[in-house]
């Protein structure tokens, strides 16, 4: 490991920390935060994350039912049928731009606090 490698590592760390800071700044409007659930790239459900009590939802995935739990502004996949159970191992997500991807079930959960997502279409 020479000097140039250490410079490279420092540059990478600075970029990563800058990305995290930008996300933390854009993460302030908690009230409008929503989870968008996609099946096979089609939006099938929008869940408002601004809830006090724990809520359970069930959506139909490619391999059967996918159980989703929402509590306190966070969302996670609780049970699903897939070989590695990657998306239920991932646990809760809560930040803007975070996502859970369940490839075997073709389910994608994205978090957004962008108010534009409320509109069906935008005509230009």
């Amino acid at each position: 490991m020479n000097k140039n490698d250490i410079k490279l590592i420092i540059i990478i760390l600075i970029i990563a920390i800058m990305i995290l800071i930008v996300i933390a700044i854009s993460d302030n409007n908690k009230n409008t935060k929503k989870a968008l659930i996609y099946y096979d790239n089609n939006l099938i459900k929008t869940i408002d994350l601004n809830v006090e009590e724990t809520q359970e939802y069930t959506v139909e995935g490619y391999n059967g039912e996918v159980k989703i739990i929402v509590e306190n502004g966070k969302i996670k996949v609780d049970e699903e049928n897939s070989p590695l159970h990657l998306c239920s191992k991932q646990g809760f997500i809560e930040k803007n731009y975070e996502s859970i991807v369940c490839l075997p079930n073709k389910i994608i959960i994205k978090i957004t606090s962008d108010s534009q997502e409320q509109y069906d279409t935008i005509i230009r």
Partner: protein, 170 residues
């Protein structure tokens, strides 16, 4: 290509496929952070970049993705294309870094790790239209320890290969 080179590249290809499969049995990194793995197969790719030329690396890398696709993940599945775009972007980056920068094998390995992730993220954006910026920050941080580990292993193995008479006697 002379026979000795063909058999050596075939052996390296077999090692890289084996490392890839061994890695899938290591439960530590399997899933708790999605998409994060050590990338043991990259040891072989790094050695091939440093010993042979770009064409050989490209052939080894693409063949490895196809073989792993047949053996494990399924040919032409989404993870096959993720792996293909990641591998191609990472070998191009590593080759350019080796040729035009003053980085050591460890720095080249870190860049390879990052560009592998970026290649996969590009595919994720094409396939699923995801905003991966959050994931990118963690991928950048994790690429440092894995890149150092892989680069260090490749350096040590290459040192042994350089001193072995069998390897030099082309």
């Amino acid at each position: 290509m002379e026979i000795k080179k063909i058999s050596r590249l075939a052996m390296l290809l077999a090692i890289s496929v084996t490392l890839n499969i061994i890695e899938s049995f290591l439960p530590i990194f399997n899933g708790y952070i999605p998409g994060f793995k050590i990338g043991l197969a990259n040891i072989v790719i790094l050695i091939v970049i440093y010993v042979y030329n770009f064409k050989d690396v490209l052939i080894i890398s693409i063949l490895r993705v196809f073989l792993v696709g047949i053996l494990r993940t399924g040919l032409f599945s989404p993870s096959f294309f993720f792996s293909l775009s990641g591998s191609i972007l990472s070998i191009i980056t590593m080759y350019l870094a080796k040729k035009y920068t003053k980085l050591s094998i460890i720095g080249v390995s870190i860049l390879g790790s990052i560009s592998h992730t970026i290649g996969q993220i590009i595919m994720a954006i094409i396939f699923y239209n995801l905003n991966m910026i959050y994931y990118m920050a963690f991928a950048l941080i994790f690429s440092i320890p894995t890149g150092i580990l892989i680069g260090f292993l490749a350096k040590e193995i290459k040192k042994t290969l350089d001193t072995s008479i069998e390897w030099q006697n082309n």
